[in-house]
């Protein structure tokens, strides 16, 4: 190859450095790097199967499509995308931490105001997605990334999809198990943005408990764990639930009383409980939407949400990066 052919200005990968590998899985490798002309820190998500065999990878394609559409302070920024010989590279903003890491760092204290701040930013980002008719379909603490300035950013849109035609079948095999809404557990082919609300509700609970709220061991156990905590749905509280494909032979648990929930979430105020109950309604049509959540009194009562720059951060010597955890298992949309 001659000098002329390697003209660096026109080769996208030469605009960035790939400095350090920070995560690897079957699906992608994540590198830290720098955008040369701005000296800005970036993360490069190199999708291994991006361009060969079955052509462009579907998750990567969706991630690019939706991130191009969604520009919001609480959604991860897609800086660039380029293909090399066999790989597809997504250049993303550098986000050093995620909520899962913080939740697991038991030496870090969460104030009620901190939790409120994270939840507020999550809802702002999610409101933007839902307003554009985009369902995320994989919300979990691990996909809520934290910028150095404390801003929370929703990431990993590999399972996202636009909500268009109502006659179309949607896959119910979405969302990481612990955060999967009951209609998905029942195999519903038609669902709404309420599945994301459920996930955020479960994340809210996890932020307060500091352990996963509904950790099912497998898909069957997930039903049991979910209904043990929140009651088994019946035709009375959720009309037509028994028509869903996987609704059968359920153990019937009573719904938890208010007092029971108070005991479960000792630190939660009544408003906080109200919001969580409204997000974790079994019947998806009864769940609040992002607008109702953002206007909820929980966010206006004291304490005010912590200023993002004062939120807890993980220790600088343990950097984590987007997809660090979830690259290990590749999810499929069937």
């Amino acid at each position: 190859m001659t000098e002329a052919e390697t003209d660096t200005e026109n080769v996208p990968q030469s605009k960035y450095t790939k400095d350090k590998k920070v995560g690897e899985g079957t699906y992608a490798v994540v590198y830290l790097g720098v955008q040369k002309h701005t000296k800005r820190k970036i993360a490069i998500k190199e999708i291994k199967t991006g361009l060969f065999k079955d052509g462009l990878d579907m998750s990567a394609l969706r991630e690019v499509k939706y991130l191009q559409e969604l520009r919001h302070p609480n959604v991860i920024e897609l800086v660039d995308v380029f293909g090399t010989s066999n790989n597809l590279n997504l250049v993303l903003e550098f986000l050093p931490c995620d909520l899962e890491v913080l939740i697991k760092s038991k030496d870090i204290m969460f104030l009620a105001a901190d939790i409120k701040s994270w939840l507020l930013m999550t809802f702002r980002g999610l409101h933007h997605c839902h307003r554009m008719s985009i369902l995320h379909r994989d919300l979990k603490p691990n996909n809520l990334l934290l910028a150095p300035d404390g801003q929370l950013k929703i990431a990993d849109f590999g399972l996202a999809r636009g909500l268009g035609n109502l006659n179309e079948d949607l896959s119910s095999n979405v969302v990481t198990r612990w955060y999967r809404a009951p209609e998905l557990l029942f195999g519903a082919k038609h669902y709404t943005a309420a599945i994301d609300i459920w996930s955020v509700g479960i994340i809210f609970a996890e932020l307060m408990l500091r352990i996963p709220y509904l950790p099912g061991k497998d898909d069957v156990d997930q039903l049991d764990v979910t209904f043990k905590a929140l009651g088994t749905p019946t035709e009375q509280i959720w009309p037509n639930v028994s028509n869903l494909p996987l609704y059968n032979s359920l153990r019937v648990y009573p719904p938890p009383s208010r007092q029971e929930l108070r005991n479960r979430f000792i630190a939660a105020t009544d408003k906080a409980l109200d919001l969580m109950i409204s997000m974790t309604q079994l019947d998806p049509s009864r769940r609040c939407n992002t607008s109702q959540a953002l206007l909820h009194e929980y966010f206006t009562e004291l304490p005010s949400p912590t200023d993002p720059k004062n939120l807890p951060k993980n220790k600088p010597n343990e950097p984590t990066v987007e997809s660090n955890g979830n690259t290990t298992k590749r999810r499929k949309v069937e």
Binding site: K53, L56, R62, Q68, G162
Partner: protein, 291 residues
């Protein structure tokens, strides 16, 4: 009856022959190809014809057949084809006008656009090896992958679809839908008006305030209509037959003083419409279905 509603209605329709024809025409407009299929060769001298015929690849089918088969095998629905159209339009705008492809270039462009649309929209999209099979032997898996890659680099990864682009791409279909909706609306309004004419013929005049407000909403609606239909050159005004019906039904009534006064200050519509609407019947119901 905005463009958005027309889009929604269109997206729920089954794939029509018109849509397939439109896809073919749009694909044809993306690029010129070196030579076209058999019938035009008849006047070419023998030796040259041989060359051309052998240049047609094995398994070659017309673009129309190709597209029909792809749609049949993959069972893609209208929304996916709508997105495909937008990508085809993008390709046409990107490729230079003097670009020339080979026999199967258009086939490849169409297939790549369809794959891109299907992968980004549907939860259960065929894999490229399936798409390869759907080409009935025209393209290899490698060629399908390559076409997809070339499309995405041609688009410079700009795979987002904006509502505007959909409206532009589908304008011919949308204006038909809007015309049909408009006609239906007018028919219903007329029926309502006639119904009220019958039921109120003998009763005394209704409350003047409710009448003027209903007329107000009707008038503002019809001005909206003519705005939104500027593209399809279709508005209430261009439907004399409808107005005649109105007038036949209600125009010969003389009991109009209050209504016509208030209307003159409210509406910018032609007098004829105003008069027909300002007659003494309670149009509140008719106004409501329109707003």
């Amino acid at each position: 009856m905005s463009d958005k509603e027309a889009l929604k209605i269109f997206s729920r329709k089954p794939v029509s022959d018109d849509m397939i024809e439109f896809l073919v025409a749009t694909t044809n407009s993306t690029i010129q190809v070196k030579s076209s299929s058999a019938p035009t060769y008849s006047k070419v001298d023998g030796s040259r014809m041989d060359v051309m015929v052998t240049s047609v690849p094995r398994g070659y089918v017309s673009l129309t057949t190709f597209i029909k088969n792809l749609i049949k095998h993959s069972n893609v629905q209208t929304p996916t084809l709508m997105a495909t159209l937008v990508y085809l339009n993008k390709v046409r705008n990107i490729l230079p006008a003097n670009a020339v492809g080979m026999e199967t270039t258009r086939h490849r462009i169409f297939l790549a656009s369809l794959i891109l649309a299907a992968k980004s929209l549907n939860d259960s999209s065929p894999l490229n090896k399936h798409w390869t099979a759907y080409t009935d032997g025209l393209l290899s898996n490698q060629e399908v992958n390559l076409a997809e890659r070339e499309l995405i680099s041609l688009l410079k990864w700009d795979i987002n679809i904006k509502e505007r682009e959909l409206l532009v791409a589908l304008q011919p279909f949308l204006s038909v839908i809007k015309d049909q909706l408009l006609a239906k609306l007018q028919r219903e309004t007329m029926e309502k008006a006639n119904y009220y004419r019958m039921s109120h013929m003998s009763s005394s005049s209704s409350n003047p305030t409710s009448r003027s407000s209903s007329i107000n909403s009707l008038a503002s609606y019809s001005s909206q209509l003519s705005l939104s239909n500027s593209l399809s050159s279709h508005s209430l005004r261009s439907q004399p037959s409808c107005h005649d019906l109105y007038n036949n039904g209600v125009g010969n009534s003389k009991r109009t003083p209050l209504g016509s006064k208030s209307l003159n200050t409210i509406s910018k519509q032609p007098i004829r419409v105003k008069r027909s609407l300002s007659s003494d019947f309670n149009l509140a119901e008719a106004g409501q279905i329109l707003v």
